[in-house]
């Protein structure tokens, strides 16, 4: 068999390091298949926000600020809600479920590193978000005559930053969920309350000042504003109230992005905080006893 000194047996040759991508891709496939086949997650996390986009603009008319129809305001906000649903809510619930059933433990016993595993999970969430965004933009365009995003750069940047921040928040949040049974309820709590006070269903500027301050502590309000700026080209952070009517500031080009710097900062701070807390609080297995 030996052909000469040049060829060493394969076993003793230094093992060539495989890249991480096939393993990450395997995780994405597992997660995506699980997500779509689980009726609860497919209908609730993915379908419900889309259903709201189809229904709400038909129930409520009028303007949310001067020259801004409610439907435009709402549809832009629902992009943020869909993102939170597919990242924060979906990850927190599914990871808690996988933790309690020792699926995480099983995966940890394979060559998958934690980074590959979580990168795969976040990538899978990102795929769901992207599909939702495309559908919402299409509904907005077809049903409500809302133009495509006027400032793609700002829009995409907030989508990407939102996916990262809210995914990390979802993973860190599992550390505070005692078991899988309580996961849906504990996830709905912040998710629902923040939807109501972050300028999604109701115009932010119409809320009392104290409630605006409370909402501004949390990232959803900023994500909604950032996406609205990219989508509609209107800066709601620097608008003015004239004769009792809120007037957002039209922005274009780089100004659109820079107008949203407080939001970018808040999202980054929440993302970093989630990472730090997650590294300390995350559990791979259910609590014993």
């Amino acid at each position: 068999m030996s052909t000469g000194t040049a060829s060493a047996p394969a076993a003793s040759a230094p093992a060539r390091r495989r890249t991480a991508w096939p393993l990450v891709a395997a995780v994405v496939r597992l997660e995506q298949k699980s997500f779509w086949r689980n009726k609860q997650s497919a209908i609730f996390s993915f379908g419900l926000p889309l259903l709201f986009v189809l229904i709400f603009p038909n129930l409520i008319g009028g303007d949310s600020g001067q020259g801004v129809p409610y439907k435009s305001y709402f549809v832009a906000g629902m992009i943020a809600v869909s993102l939170v649903s597919s990242t924060f809510a979906t990850l927190a619930i599914s990871v808690t479920f996988q933790r309690d059933l020792l699926i995480l433990k099983r995966l940890r016993g394979t060559p998958l590193t934690p980074i590959m595993l979580f990168f795969g999970k976040i990538s899978s969430a990102a795929i769901s978000v992207l599909i939702q965004v495309v559908i919402i933009l299409a509904i907005g365009r077809i049903a409500y005559d809302i133009p495509m995003p006027v400032n793609w750069f700002t829009f995409v940047l907030f989508i990407v930053l939102g996916i990262v921040t809210f995914s990390l928040l979802g993973l860190a949040y599992t550390g505070f969920i005692p078991n899988g049974d309580s996961a849906p309820a504990l996830v709905q709590l912040p998710y629902l309350v923040l939807q109501f006070i972050s300028g999604i269903f109701f115009p932010f500027e119409a809320m009392p000042a104290w409630l605006q301050h409370v909402a501004s502590v949390f990232p959803l309000r900023w994500l909604a504003d950032g996406l609205r700026t990219g989508y509609l080209g209107l800066d709601f952070l620097h608008g003015q109230t004239v004769n009792g009517t809120f007037v957002p500031k039209p922005v274009t080009g780089l100004d659109a992005l820079t107008s949203q710097w407080p939001g970018l900062l808040v999202l980054v701070v929440w993302g970093v905080a989630a990472l730090i807390v997650g590294l300390r609080k995350f559990r791979w297995e259910k609590r014993v006893g």
Partner: protein, 311 residues
């Protein structure tokens, strides 16, 4: 036995300790498993068995002492080691909505030199169930899938945690055959089990843990010989009394209505003394029997002993 070099040691624990708060679950465990060896790890619940195995599997770091698997620290070696180790967990679930084939395919992608997906499914006998969603599998079928996932990467070291719990007897035989097949390929197996019979069937060596310590170690036969006490029994010949029996060192003599029982660790020597005495007197020992303890007797005896000698 020849001197082992480090390269031949697949699994090694030295003075391993693990505390949870003030509770010390593992109190200084030493284990060495040679490459290609099958070691059965026995112990009652709460003896530190799971903790020890999980340290070796890399799921938790020890509080003190060292653990080495294939020469690497399992707590920190990560992917390099995981590619060479297979773990068959006892109660871990699967993603319920995936089929058997999809699950095995994912694991196939995790390892650098796996056997084929079809082969992995075939050898655990799930070929006919490959397209079934995992949530619809029976308990025994899930354990087979566990096996397929744990062994698809051609592991050099395989940790089996109660691998045949819930198997019917024929499935258990099949699992044993598969384990033997893997051992034949040179896989080192660390087998945690409740079934003494399983350890006896598969293991070259058995280690028994109780109270956080290894209380006995050796081949099943060695354990029976070293730890177990045999019983020699016979009817006392007419006209003879117990006092006439020869001196039997390290033996306990009892009389149950004419049936004499001699309990001893030195079964061979003692039975020789007893039968020699009978021959010399020219009498027949009616009902003579020599009972060796089973591994199960030895095990139950070992784990029942008070072994907490901390103080």
């Amino acid at each position: 036995m020849s001197q082992r070099t480090d390269a031949d040691v697949a699994i090694e624990a030295r003075a391993l300790r693990k505390s949870y708060g003030s509770f010390e679950a593992v109190k200084g465990v030493d284990i060495a498993v040679a490459a290609g060896e099958v070691v059965g790890f026995l112990g009652p619940n709460g003896a530190g068995k799971t903790t020890t195995v999980e340290i070796l599997e890399g799921y938790r770091p020890p509080t003190a002492g060292t653990a080495r698997v294939l020469g690497l620290d399992p707590a920190t070696a990560g992917r390099t080691l995981r590619e060479r180790v297979g773990i068959v967990l006892q109660e871990a679930e699967f993603l319920p909505e995936l089929t058997v084939r999809e699950t095995v395919e994912a694991w196939h992608r995790f390892y650098p030199h796996p056997i084929t997906v079809a082969e992995a499914i075939e050898r655990v006998g799930l070929t006919g169930r490959a397209e079934i969603r995992v949530k619809n599998l029976s308990g025994g079928e899930r354990r087979r899938l566990d096996f397929a996932l744990g062994t698809i990467g051609r592991p050099e070291v395989l940790f089996l945690d109660e691998p045949t719990t819930g198997f019917d007897p024929s499935a258990r035989r099949q699992a044993w055959e598969l384990i033997r097949e893997l051992v034949g390929e040179g896989t080192t197996v660390f087998l945690t089990t409740h079934y003494i019979e399983e350890a006896q069937a598969l293991a070259d060596r058995v280690a028994v843990i109780a109270g956080g310590r290894i209380v006995a170690e050796g081949s099943p036969d060695e354990l029976r010989a070293a730890e177990g006490e045999g019983v020699i029994s016979f009817r006392l010949p007419a006209g003879a009394s117990l006092g006439e029996l020869p001196d039997l060192p390290d033996a306990e003599v009892g009389d149950e209505g004419g049936l004499v029982t001699v309990t001893t660790k030195h079964v061979t020597a003692t039975s020789h003394a007893v039968t020699g005495w009978a021959l010399a007197r020219g009498v027949e020992l009616e009902g003579l029997s020599v009972h060796r303890p089973s591994l199960e007797d030895v095990y139950l005896e070992l784990v029942a002993r008070p072994n907490d000698t901390d103080t």
